[in-house]
C-alpha cells in the first residue's frame, strides 16, 4: 500500500511577471510559476504515491477539509501565497485592482503583529490574517510541506502543536527570480530543483530532517552555479534567503510510511488462509445439505 498525499495547487492571475522590464519570460503571472513547480512535484509523485490534487479553482476551504477527512493522507503539500498564520486558495476576488485569494487553511493570530525580517513593516503590513474558524487541527499525524512565504512563523508550529508529525515551511519570505530571456531560464529550474527535490527525498523515505538538510545543501550548489553563470545577484539573494529561512517544525525523524509489499511467506500465508476458509465453507454447506436431506426423509 503506497502513501497518500493531498496536493493543493491554486492558480489565479496575481502579479504580472511579463512586461516592459522582462518581455521574454515563460510565465505571464507569478502563480503560474508556482503552479508549474507543484505540477512537477505531482508528476514525480504519481508513480510511487497515491496522489490526490486540488488545482486551479478547486482548492476552496470546504474542498480541502472534505478531502482531508475522506482521504486521510500521510502527507499534505500546499504551494501558494501565504501569511504568518495562513495559506491561500480559491475563491479569488477583486482587490484594489488586483485579485485576492481566500484564506483556506489558517490558525489563530498570534500576539501583536507579524513582520518580515527582509521587508519593512510599512511595505507589507501585519502578516497575520483574521482566522475566525481555525482548521490547522486537521493535519493530525501528517507530514506537511508549505511552499510559500512566512507560514513558518505561526501556522507551521500551530499545526505541529495540534498533532501534525512535522511541517516544512519558510520562516520568512519565499523568494525566487525569473529570467528575462531564454538563456537564464535555468534560474527557474534551480528553484524547482530544490523545492521539488525536498519532497523527492520524503518519497524516498528519508527523514524530514534529511530532506531539509538536502534542501539547504542544494541551495548552496545553486548559489555556486549562479556565481558561475552570470552572477545574478537577485538569484543569489533569493537562494541564500530561502536557505536561511527553510525551517522544520516537529519530529525531524518522521518519514513517510514504507509501502507494504507482500513477501513470499506472506503470500503463502494469505493463500493458505484463503484455502482454509474455502474448505471450511464447503464442509459446512455439505453438512447443511445432509441435514436438510435427513429432515426431508424424516418428514
Amino acid at each position: 500500500m503506497s502513501s497518500k498525499v493531498l496536493v493543493v495547487q491554486p492558480l489565479w492571475h496575481d502579479m504580472p511577471v511579463r512586461g516592459w522590464a522582462c518581455p521574454n519570460t515563460r510565465f505571464e503571472w507569478q502563480m503560474e510559476y508556482m503552479y508549474w513547480i507543484i505540477g512537477e512535484l505531482i508528476n514525480r509523485s504519481g508513480g510511487s504515491m497515491h496522489v490526490e490534487v486540488l488545482e486551479g479553482d478547486q482548492p476552496t476551504r470546504a474542498n480541502i477539509e472534505s478531502k482531508l477527512q475522506s482521504l486521510h493522507p500521510q502527507a499534505y503539500v500546499h504551494g501558494s501565497h501565504m501569511a504568518c498564520n495562513a495559506a491561500t486558495g480559491s475563491p479569488y476576488e477583486p482587490y484594489y485592482g488586483f485579485i485576492r485569494p481566500s484564506v483556506v487553511v489558517c490558525s489563530p493570530r498570534g500576539e501583536g503583529a507579524c513582520y518580515s525580517n527582509t521587508l519593512p513593516w510599512w511595505q507589507t503590513g501585519d502578516l497575520y490574517v483574521d482566522c475566525p474558524s481555525p482548521n490547522h487541527t486537521l493535519f493530525n499525524g501528517m507530514i506537511v510541506y508549505l511552499v510559500g512565504c512566512i507560514a513558518g512563523r505561526k501556522l507551521a508550529p500551530d499545526m505541529v502543536n495540534a498533532g501534525a508529525k512535522a511541517v516544512i515551511a519558510q520562516g520568512d519570505l519565499l523568494w525566487m527570480t525569473i529570467g528575462c530571456d531564454q538563456n537564464t531560464w535555468w534560474r527557474e529550474e534551480a528553484f524547482l530543483d530544490v523545492w521539488v527535490g525536498i519532497f523527492d527525498r520524503l518519497r524516498e523515505h528519508k527523514t524530514v530532517g534529511e530532506a531539509v538538510q538536502w534542501g539547504k545543501d542544494r541551495y548552496d550548489y545553486w548559489i555556486d552555479y549562479a556565481k558561475q553563470h552570470g552572477n545574478d545577484t537577485n538569484t543569489i539573494f533569493a537562494l541564500q534567503t530561502d536557505k536561511d529561512y527553510l525551517t522544520l517544525y516537529g519530529d525531524e525523524t518522521a518519514t513517510l510510511p514504507t509501502p507494504i509489499i507482500p513477501t513470499d511467506w506472506t503470500l503463502f500465508a494469505l493463500l493458505a488462509a484463503g484455502g482454509g476458509i474455502l474448505l471450511l465453507s464447503l464442509a459446512l454447506s455439505k453438512k447443511r445439505k445432509r441435514k436438510m436431506e435427513e429432515e426431508v426423509v424424516g418428514a
Partner: protein, 135 residues
C-alpha cells in the same frame, strides 16, 4: 576608489563577519601568511586596529570581485550599480497578491539604504563571505 573603506562599509562587514564567525566557531583565516582566529579578526575590526582595517579592506575588494560589482565609493553603491545591469526579476509568494521587484527597484532600494536594500546587500555579503574566505 573601491579600495577605500567607508565607515558604512566597516559597519556592514563587522555585522556580516560576526554572524559568519558565530556560525563557524573555531574558523581561522590566513592573512599575508599569518593565521588568525575569526574572533581575533572580529575584535580587530571592532577596535579599528591596523589589522582590522587591513582585513576589512581585503574582504571588501574580495567580495566586490566575487560579485563582479563595479568599484564605487561604498559596497552599497557598488552592488546597486551591479544590480541595475542585470536582466531578472525578484518575486515573493506573499499574501495577498505576491510581490515583484524589477532590477531598477532593487537598485533604488539599495541606493536609498532602505531596510530592504540594506538587508539585500547583507544577504549577498553573507553568501559571498564563505566562498571568498575559503578561496
Amino acid at each position: 576608489m573601491g579600495d577605500e573603506l567607508t565607515e558604512e562599509d566597516m559597519e556592514l562587514l563587522i555585522e556580516v563577519f560576526s554572524e559568519w564567525a558565530r556560525e563557524n566557531p573555531g574558523a581561522t583565516v590566513i592573512i599575508d601568511g599569518v593565521e588568525y582566529s575569526a574572533s581575533q579578526l572580529l575584535t580587530a575590526m571592532i577596535g579599528r586596529t591596523e589589522l582590522g582595517i587591513r582585513f576589512a579592506q581585503k574582504l571588501k575588494s574580495g567580495l566586490l570581485d566575487f560579485f563582479e560589482a563595479p568599484s564605487q565609493s561604498s559596497i552599497y553603491d557598488s552592488i546597486a550599480a551591479k544590480v541595475v545591469t542585470q536582466r531578472s526579476m525578484l518575486l515573493a509568494f506573499l499574501y495577498p497578491q505576491g510581490l515583484v521587484y524589477t532590477n531598477e527597484q532593487v537598485a533604488d532600494e539599495i541606493a536609498s539604504r532602505s531596510d530592504f536594500g540594506k538587508n539585500y546587500v547583507k544577504v549577498l555579503m553573507k553568501a559571498g563571505l564563505s566562498r571568498v574566505i575559503s578561496s
